[in-house]
Symmetry: D2
Subunit: 337 residues, 4 copies
């Protein structure tokens, strides 16, 4: 935003009023002249409506850019999928999506689903197609895995979330899934975002490894403008310089989306941390930050997992997390913002 | 760590046992030879004692580096300052340190201290010396401010935390403060770390803007090896590519320090977010992650603040946060890891 | 690599020999025991063959991982496309690929091609399909643009390089192009990498915005393992924290690829800098670093460009760069490594 | 900058004129109103004088911030130290500063100086005080090393550059050195910057590990405003996410400083790459980018180096680089911008 002062304005008084409202401002002026003073509101400032600034004595005009992310802004804060309400409002309980990184066999996914169903987990996740760094790594069991996943979920009355790694995989994925996952590596893949929108299912949109919030929101615009009924944002850690964790979980971005943009945010601490011993506290932190839900990797035998075994939670670990979330349900101060 | 297998080992069985324990491993071998297989445990793996790996059938040896951070490891998890216990243990209540970015006048700091005292805040923060990006920015009121700060705290029975920006400022700072703050810009300033250690007061060590956890822990070693009775670690956000927040609050690092290293961690969401509208949820997230306390900037008139006004919390905002933390005291699941 | 010492080794002597060869090493040992000393060679070390280390007195074994990037390693250093040799060898002249960001009309691309042809530029670039951050931005003229681009190049006897933004666009792109470009946003898009390989044309593989060298090399493996006759690596800047340039041009990565891996590297300073006033010196730096060629954006009327106008070089600017490169052709010390 | 249009302006025509000049612009306007259109010129745009924009038909006013970095801007582009001219102008030959990471003994530094003197190197570098990550690492021989360094340089008629790691070390350092080095870890250490300015010697200011260009320029302002006769900027790599090199050498920043700000830039590829096998090509790239000189680590016996051995150049390696630079002296197109 650009705030232009009128000729009679007391510059310092206006500056104070802007700072008071949480804005980082930089004064600009036609140099060596009697030109009007303008304050440039910098990125990283608190979100304040332009009307509030226009009301400040001494302000002549407040220029803003075009409305950004109109379709995201128009999303209702709460999404309902198969009777499960997902969103930042106090009456939506934290949602847990859980399952293995890869769907490895009919038996594996069935065993995991049974276990999760008993815990009350409502969404079953599992990869049928895998986007892997190396061409020689396991790339998923494809269409067969989709069937196993759907059957396992149905037996437990669970919903399914699974990833489409390319436009070609969208059709079979959309046929079985309740929520189409777009992975980090594909957040910038605009043909896929468009196709995901067209398939008519809600989208779980993971943040790109080094995507800005602006790019992430525009990626959601791609989905929504091509027909997606809803987009859930999934924060899964961004790339940084410190090898002590795989990625850096950016809960500030989750807070921004949940509390300022009023969007449903799912947090995936498994991929963020990459370390099993950090996952539980990150779950509680994510919910306290305002996340609408969690996405967790679990495996009945992590040592035999075909991918991401070291970060898969053991059966007892996920049971402990689900239990703690349930007990805390009414306590996490998501009402606080 | 390097895990060397014996000649009889079933390689795949050992690999599974390692992955099962949360380790990311890479197999290495003398190429084209009958050399022994070795698994390199990569950074970012869960923390597992070497003894546990030695017990795996097929493992011949587990080589580790020298003990890292011996003085940090020897720190008790809970620090006591003037009767206030700070640490990750369930019986230490979350600590709140609050105050203005800069101590601007005797009256300002007194008014703020009075207000905070009434809220039950036990630590008063405020900068007497300021490390600013620009040479023409306000650099703090120096020695005079130290006196005002101490007096204001004493009137309320509060403890003081304030920053020493250089070796020369350490002596006057140490005379009045209960906790010596080392700022982000100085985390790599080894002469200052040594001097801070020598002054005999506990140290609040802020993480450098792009410091790895390893560098941060070594900085604490500098303080402890030169005499500091205790070091509190203060996470305040790291530098990243997204301008939507000033910095990225790395709660994964806070979890790692609190739950794996068992260290007292203070989280400063004010500098991390740089946006007033994100601070409250980040406070709750930090405590849920296992932080022992919070450091918050507040001002009675943020518009007139001589530094960092846009991120300073208003009186009613900090009262709301302190209240919410207090009410949640027994509820934040810091026992959960 | 892991270097294991024998029982008779003088540890310090071996350490020196390793450091002498440019290796960052970390000693590990079974703690409190008489276990053998092992040196872990850290990432970021100079590239030294394992055989050289085995020859050091006191070394018993040198374990390495599987051969990484076997197909990249097997690529000849010089690629020939339509009689133009591209590569890091002294006898291949620096290659310049130039053209507009987007192919905007038949007339536009023809005018630009004519101008570039006269300068001796051998490759015409231009986008027919565009991957844009915002869904409302211009997305390219598609199939029509491909025809205009091919015709314009043919008139000047130039080769064509253009991007396929999705699997569906690959077929029409492959039909007209001499070199298939995979953009930054798609470097992790494995279905597209596979499809690009299958189309049988050489691939220009741009580095992802936050891709490690390892991920970039694996992306090339995807292309090569699916049939690509050659992959050229295009460094175009990585994401960082400093807004003074759009991206950070990582010439260290270009040096590593060109001098250590002996791969053909193309540098794109237009996208890296995003600032027209930095492009010329970055071109000279890239070639001095060992780049086999440059990819440059130019426009006859940058103000009217439908995308990336501010970084498009004016006609006189690109003429100056091409002239300078030509004059310096025999002088850039690409022989020097 | 903010460009405000007059009521009669054709908005699109003005936009084109701005883009034509290399500016990334964003239109803003009082929403739903007849308010004037304003273009915000974004960071990362080409550097264009405000006067040029005022001359565009339809532009009413161009507001700019206060003059940034006035003392840096007032620096002459060429600095002279002991008869050696350093700067981006064509008549100043590339300067080479070389020597060991640490001054380890009288004999060591003398042997290295003799060797470098014969190659025609004019500046001898070497650390007497070392800022190390770990408290147990070698911290330098201090005052004794300063004497050895000065004597060794004098014997060869060389100038000295060495680092002051703290305010206390400044006096002894300033007594012997011709150029005071401020290290990366201290770029944000404002008391040290002030003290360095006061000592009256020119300053070699290394960029902080994650410092923006803006912060780096302000750090120079600190030195210059406290009396430094000149500041040389030393780019040594910034922190990033890719472990294949220790740091990322940001030659875009070097180009920006050398060609846009007309400042003397020294490039240190040794610390940037951390890999001996990349250093030579990075030297040539740095000079082609417009660097005024190079800073290189060399050691007569890298295996015995007390610090940074793996990146120290062998005697023959540095001789080859110095020779190549010398032969290319008239050829590197630093005139080209």
């Amino acid at each position: 935003m650009i705030v232009t002062l009128n000729d009679a304005a007391e510059i310092e008084t206006v500056r104070r009023a802007l700072v008071e409202r949480g804005l980082w401002v930089r004064p600009l002026q036609e140099p060596g002249s009697s030109g009007r003073v303008q304050f440039l509101v910098e990125e990283g400032s608190a979100s304040v409506p332009a009307e509030d600034l226009r009301a400040i004595r001494g302000v002549e005009a407040v220029a803003t850019g075009e409305v950004c992310y109109p379709r995201v802004r128009a999303q209702p804060p709460t999404v309902e999928i198969h009777g499960v309400r997902i969103g930042p409002t106090p009456d939506a309980a934290p949602l847990i999506m859980a399952g293995p990184c890869s769907v490895e066999s009919k038996e594996q996914i069935r065993a995991i689903a049974t276990r999760l169903g008993r815990l009350g987990v409502r969404f079953l996740r599992g990869g049928a197609y895998k986007a892997r760094t190396r061409p020689d790594s396991f790339q998923g069991h494809g269409a067969a895995a989709l069937g196993w996943l759907r059957d396992a979920a149905d037996e437990q009355g669970m919903s399914v979330v699974t990833e489409a790694v390319g436009v070609e995989e969208l059709e079979p994925v959309a046929e079985v899934t309740d929520l189409v996952q777009i992975g980090s590596r594909n957040m910038h893949n605009t043909p896929l975002l468009k196709a995901a929108g067209r398939c008519g299912k809600p989208v779980l949109l993971k943040r790109g490894m080094a995507a800005t919030l602006d790019e992430w929101l525009h990626a959601a615009e791609y989905c929504l403008s091509h027909g997606a009924p809803a987009v859930l944002f999934c924060e899964r850690g961004i790339r940084s310089f410190d090898p002590s964790t795989r990625n850096v979980l950016d809960l500030g971005a989750a807070v921004l989306l949940a509390h300022v943009y009023r969007q449903p945010v799912i947090v995936d601490p498994s991929h963020a941390a990459g370390r099993r011993d950090l996952i539980a506290p990150l779950c509680y932190a994510a919910l306290a930050a305002g996340a609408a839900g969690l996405m967790l990797e679990t495996h009945d035998d992590p040592g035999r997992a075909l991918s991401d075994g070291p970060q898969a939670l053991h059966a007892d670990e996920i049971a402990a997390i689900v239990g703690a979330v349930r007990r805390a349900e009414s306590r996490y101060s998501r009402r606080s913002s």
